[in-house]
């Protein structure tokens, strides 16, 4: 009888053991969601990212700026004579550019003697169209000082040049605005930083001609030619930054959202600056989104007011006419009003054929495009002279400046995307992580690390390339539809399904285990009582 009891206890124990050792892990494995491995440690490292930017600056001393004994200490002997026949700094800039081709992101500063007539009297620094600057050596630098002193004297000024031509603290904070909270205070700079489009691998530029009154005006614009002449050179120059595609359309009966007010003193219609905000919405419904891609769209609208509301002028905050008769909307595009009532007399036969002066229109749109793309034209510090724009509309160093901030912005955005994805996946255990998502995440992390390393090394081109790859991979991982499949399958439902099986199975096991334990305890107590 005792052996029979013993056998029963053993059977109960072994069943409990099988359930615990085999059953539970098997159930766990078969009902678990697939989660591929993610480089969590590296992502966490990225979360507190330390960015270090470095730019190569080459300082070239022209003849007459260093003494022979200083010359001996200069590591590389690049003391050149500046072109003797140059009469203007522009020519000097061009001839210097042919002398040394500097890679993207680097700078060459030529130090010229105090007495040089190359620069006008009150100009100390001249910034060229390429990646060069001319720096007039200070008057107080008498010959005979040591090289260290000379360099110490030049350093703050070279720093200043670097801030104008490559990057400054404010640029980088603006680019990092996603991650770093801006210090409240300078409202103007916040507005400036929010004007430009976010960094994206591509942009769609759409020019729209709005003709609300096709009965009176038959408007023609040679947009194809104008794009070729004015816009394309700039975009070709910006090609390393992003892909651009351009299209245009004509919209008829497209109205502005506001009724302009008639100003009898000027006998013209006016649009106030505070009503401009309401202009865009009704027009935007007609513009149509870009069906064929998901890149951000930059809209440029040319509005030809109808015959009964002409001429139409935009007024600024001070009730003054805006000269260009145009305005732009941050991260959206620009609108220009083009009055045509001067093209025909009062006895004209409608509809009137009107050809638009594209040079005037494109001048405005080009300026707006530069603003919206984030090409900053902040005023240089005193004593600086900036070379006039070249035919492409963009100097090399301006492109570099844009590339610096875009790279930093890309790195910041990709890091935010990846860390928030990792957080999300960490918080919600139900999400399936496929192998391809894991692969995208790790490639994004690798590209990010490479981009940061290249930024540190000062290789701007590669850094931008890697940061673009990082952004693409991180977005692809973040927006992968497979992440959503099991998102709304909560754990309690899973347990509800298994309770009809588990409850009847576990109750006898638990009860018999309890019984065994209590019996064992009783036995021990008896044994102790016997001993006593």
């Amino acid at each position: 009888c005792l052996s029979e009891r013993r056998r029963g206890q053993l059977a109960a124990l072994s069943i409990a053991a099988v359930v615990i050792i085999v059953g539970v892990p098997l159930w766990w494995r078969t009902t678990e969601t697939y989660r591929a491995w993610l480089p969590v440690n590296q992502i966490n490292e990225l979360a507190n990212l330390q960015l270090q930017l470095s730019a190569d600056v080459e300082v070239v001393f022209a003849r007459g700026t260093v003494t022979p004994e200083q010359q001996k200490k200069v590591p590389t002997q690049v003391v050149i004579s500046l072109c003797l026949f140059c009469s203007s700094p522009l020519e000097a800039d061009l001839s210097l550019h042919t002398l040394s081709e500097s890679p993207c992101g680097s700078l060459v500063v030529y130090v010229i003697p105090e007495s040089s007539t190359l620069l006008p009297e009150d100009v100390d620094v001249y910034i060229g169209q390429r990646r060069t600057a001319l720096l007039r050596i200070g008057a107080q630098m008498r010959v005979g000082r040591t090289l260290e002193q000379l360099l110490a004297h030049l350093e703050p000024r070279i720093k200043q040049v670097l801030q104008v031509m490559s990057f400054s603290h404010t640029d980088i904070t603006a680019a990092l605005s996603d991650r770093v909270r801006l210090s409240p205070g300078n409202k103007e700079s916040i507005a400036d930083s929010m004007r430009a489009f976010k960094s994206s691998p591509g942009y769609e530029i759409t020019f729209s001609l709005l003709n609300p009154d096709p009965k009176s005006h038959r408007v023609h614009w040679d947009i194809e030619g104008a794009v070729q002449t004015y816009i394309q050179p700039l975009l070709t120059k910006l090609a390393p930054l992003a892909n651009f595609s351009i299209d245009s359309q004509t919209l008829y009966y497209a109205m502005l959202g506001v009724n302009p007010r008639y100003d009898s003193s000027r006998s013209a219609y006016t649009l106030n600056s505070d009503s401009l905000a309401h202009v865009i919405n009704p027009v935007e419904a007609r513009l149509g989104s870009n069906a064929a891609s998901s890149n951000p769209v930059l809209n440029f609208l040319l509005y030809v007011p109808d015959a009964h509301h002409s001429p139409l002028h935009i007024h600024d905050h001070k009730k003054q006419e805006v000269l260009s008769n145009a305005f732009h909307s941050p991260r959206w595009g620009g609108i220009m009003v083009y009055n045509v009532n001067g093209f025909y007399g009062p006895e004209a036969v409608f509809p009137v054929d009107i050809n638009i002066n594209m040079a005037k229109v494109m001048g405005v749109f080009l300026a707006q495009l530069r603003l919206l793309l984030g090409v900053q034209s902040s005023a240089p510090p005193p004593g600086f002279l900036v070379a006039p724009c070249s035919s492409t509309g963009l100097a090399d160093w301006e492109l570099d400046r844009l590339m610096w901030s875009r790279t930093v912005e890309n790195v910041a955005t990709a890091t935010t995307t990846i860390t928030s994805l990792a957080q999300l996946l960490d918080q919600i255990g139900n999400i399936v992580i496929n192998d391809n998502i894991a692969q995208q995440v790790s490639s994004a992390v690798t590209s990010l690390q490479l981009a940061v390393a290249e930024l540190e090394a000062g290789n701007l081109g590669f850094a931008l390339q890697y940061s673009k790859e990082a952004i693409l991979a991180s977005e692809r991982a973040f927006f992968d539809p497979s992440l959503l499949h099991l998102l709304y399958f909560p754990d309690d439902q899973k347990f509800a399904i298994y309770i009809p099986l588990f409850l009847p199975m576990c109750v006898p096991i638990l009860l018999s285990l309890l019984k065994i334990v209590s019996e064992a305890r009783q036995k021990r107590r008896e044994r102790q009582a016997k001993k006593d």
Partner: protein, 577 residues
């Protein structure tokens, strides 16, 4: 800058104003036409058909990127160039066209949504492009075209030939899909109207008020894009965008039973102007059955008449040219009025029509019957029948029979592609000769498949739709005479009617089918789980008891009477029993 301005100015002075163009670049031709055809029907209903045609001259065949749009809508232009589309036909229809009551429509379309696209032969991954294209189009037209996938897409081998120029007829580049379940409403009309150059602000499009258009017995809107020739020699090519909208207003519903129609009654608007961008803007009223005005009268009367051979029949139309100011009269608005005088007279029977139904009982097997009527008294003609049946109806193709006049009618061409479960539908195409004055019946049996429980639609007891059959045919024409004698032709060839007009192309759509599939009780999975678990638990419990319990023989306990007796004896102080 000022200098450049002056230069430009001088150039302008020397050129005539219309020709101010950059030298070396050809002027593009953009044209826009709009048209409304109204046909009073014998049933007292009225049929209105809008057509808007935009022509854009461009050399698209060389594959260069075009991105500057004027009258052509940018969204569609981008779709064409991104997906290398050669031809695109899309239609949204609410209601079923009753051929026997209303005659042939100008543009036939099946109920629900229909999309067929010819891709250019440069496309390598046609299926991937098709999938992307349907997604983009569903965004443009606010429709559920994203439900088009491989399970409802077919590649017809003969039924859908390109309607534009181009000699590529390899059906690898063709995709055809229908969504018979699609419901068409205002949200589809608004984006469709947005594609028009004048929007709904001017011209005929002001009549397109959705509250009236959808209060009708039949509503169909379509977009057709195809490459066409610009001239007779086809030296220049252009894209043609045709937007059509057909609507039939019901006598009892819209006109309160009065046989009197006006533009205002139909559309709750009158016309005041043509679209200023349109090269032609006309309204046609079909007065063929009413040459002397004995059936109905049209006011205001118009002296302009036009004759055209439409669908094999010579029709006469009153024409109202909206570009002429005189059309609008003194009140400066046009409100056409059609008043019926008698309700007699009957319509010419359509020569070809078709119907379809599903037969059988129970939820296992069934039979699809397709009936095709040839009403021509003495001519037989061949028709192409296209059937696309979803995979969950498993067709038994060996049971396919085609009979006409009680005799077996052997199709001269059969193209059958069997379905694959959850991958592709059945495709059946047949070329059948219809004998004169006969009914040809095509039957095929099918078995219903069991779906997985996630594959059912949200309302599975409503049934599952099977798209319309498509019947395409060249029907012999009633009029054989070529009325257009202005074309240069030698005398010896012009006496007998020319061949092109002796028959005309007709496409007929049958009704979509609604088939019930065996539908489970959807709480079943949980019930099954509970039941199984209970059975397992019971079996397990008894097994567990057998294994762990030890069985002992125990003294039977004393009965109730004995116990009571013992208690009493205890009280009395007597030893128990």
């Amino acid at each position: 800058f000022v200098f450049i301005m002056r230069c430009n100015f001088r150039i302008v002075l020397f050129l005539p104003p219309g020709l101010y163009k950059t030298p070396g670049r050809k002027m593009q031709i953009w044209l826009f036409y709009e048209e409304l055809v109204i046909r009073p029907l014998h049933s007292g209903d009225i049929y209105a058909s809008f057509q808007f045609r935009t022509v854009w001259e461009t050399d698209f065949m060389r594959g260069n990127k075009v991105s500057h749009y004027r009258l052509f809508p940018k969204s569609l232009g981008q779709v064409i160039s991104k997906f290398s589309v050669r031809e695109l036909h899309i239609s949204f229809t609410q209601g079923y066209w009753r051929t026997m009551q209303w005659g042939q429509p100008f543009q036939p379309s099946p109920p629900g949504a229909e999309l067929w696209v010819w891709f250019q032969d440069s496309v390598t991954d046609v299926d991937g492009t098709w999938k992307e294209l349907t997604n983009v189009l569903s965004g443009i037209f606010c429709a559920s075209l994203n439900f088009i996938d491989s399970t409802n897409t077919v590649q017809p081998s003969a039924s859908f030939k390109p309607l534009g120029i181009g000699n590529e007829t390899d059906h690898r580049f063709l995709r055809y899909a229908t969504l018979p379940r699609e419901i068409v409403c205002t949200e589809n009309l608004t984006p469709w109207k947005k594609l028009l150059p004048c929007g709904s602000k001017a011209g005929l499009a002001v009549l397109l008020k959705s509250e009236k258009l959808f209060h009708s017995s039949f509503h169909s809107q379509a977009v057709h894009i195809r490459p066409v020739c610009q001239d007779w020699q086809c030296k220049t090519t252009s894209w043609e965008l045709r937007q059509t909208l057909n609507v039939v207003f019901d006598l009892h519903n819209s006109a309160q039973g009065k046989r009197e129609w006006s533009l205002f009654k139909m559309f709750s608007r009158t016309l005041t102007e043509a679209c200023p961008l349109a090269s032609s803007s006309k309204i046609y009223i079909d007065i063929t059955d009413n040459p002397q005005g004995e059936q109905f009268e049209v006011s205001p009367a118009t002296p302009l008449l036009s004759q055209a051979v439409v669908l094999g029949d010579r029709r006469t139309f009153s024409v109202y040219d909206l570009t002429q100011q005189i059309t609008f009269g003194t009140v400066r608005s046009l409100n056409l009025l059609i008043r019926w005088k008698s309700s007699e007279g009957d319509m010419l029977r359509p020569l070809l029509h078709a119907e379809r139904y599903v037969a059988g009982y129970g939820l296992q097997t069934g039979e699809i019957h397709t009936l095709m009527y040839n009403n021509h008294p003495y001519r037989s003609f061949p028709v192409l029948l296209l059937d696309s049946v979803p995979w969950y109806l498993r067709l038994y193709i060996h049971t396919l029979t085609v009979t006409s006049k009680g005799k077996d009618n052997k199709p001269s061409y059969i193209h059958y592609q069997p379905s694959k479960d959850r991958l592709r539908p059945h495709l059946l195409e047949m070329l059948v000769q219809l004998p004169p004055n006969s009914v040809t019946e095509v039957t095929v049996q099918f078995e219903r498949a069991l779906l997985k429980w996630t594959e059912y639609t949200p309302d599975p007891n409503h049934g599952f739709y099977v798209g319309s059959s498509v019947i395409s045919s060249l029907v012999p024409s009633i009029v054989a005479m070529d009325t257009n004698s202005t074309r240069e032709r030698p005398l010896f060839s012009s006496f007998f009617p020319c061949k092109e007009e002796s028959s005309y192309f007709v496409r007929v759509y049958t009704e979509p089918l609604l088939v019930n599939l065996p539908t489970p009780d959807f709480s079943m999975p949980y019930n099954v789980i509970c039941l199984t678990c209970t059975v397992v638990a019971v079996g397990y419990g008894s097994l567990y008891n057998l294994l762990t319990r030890s069985f002992q023989i125990e003294e039977p306990s004393p009965g109730l009477a004995k116990r009571i007796a013992n208690i009493i004896r205890k009280m009395r102080g007597v030893p128990p029993l």
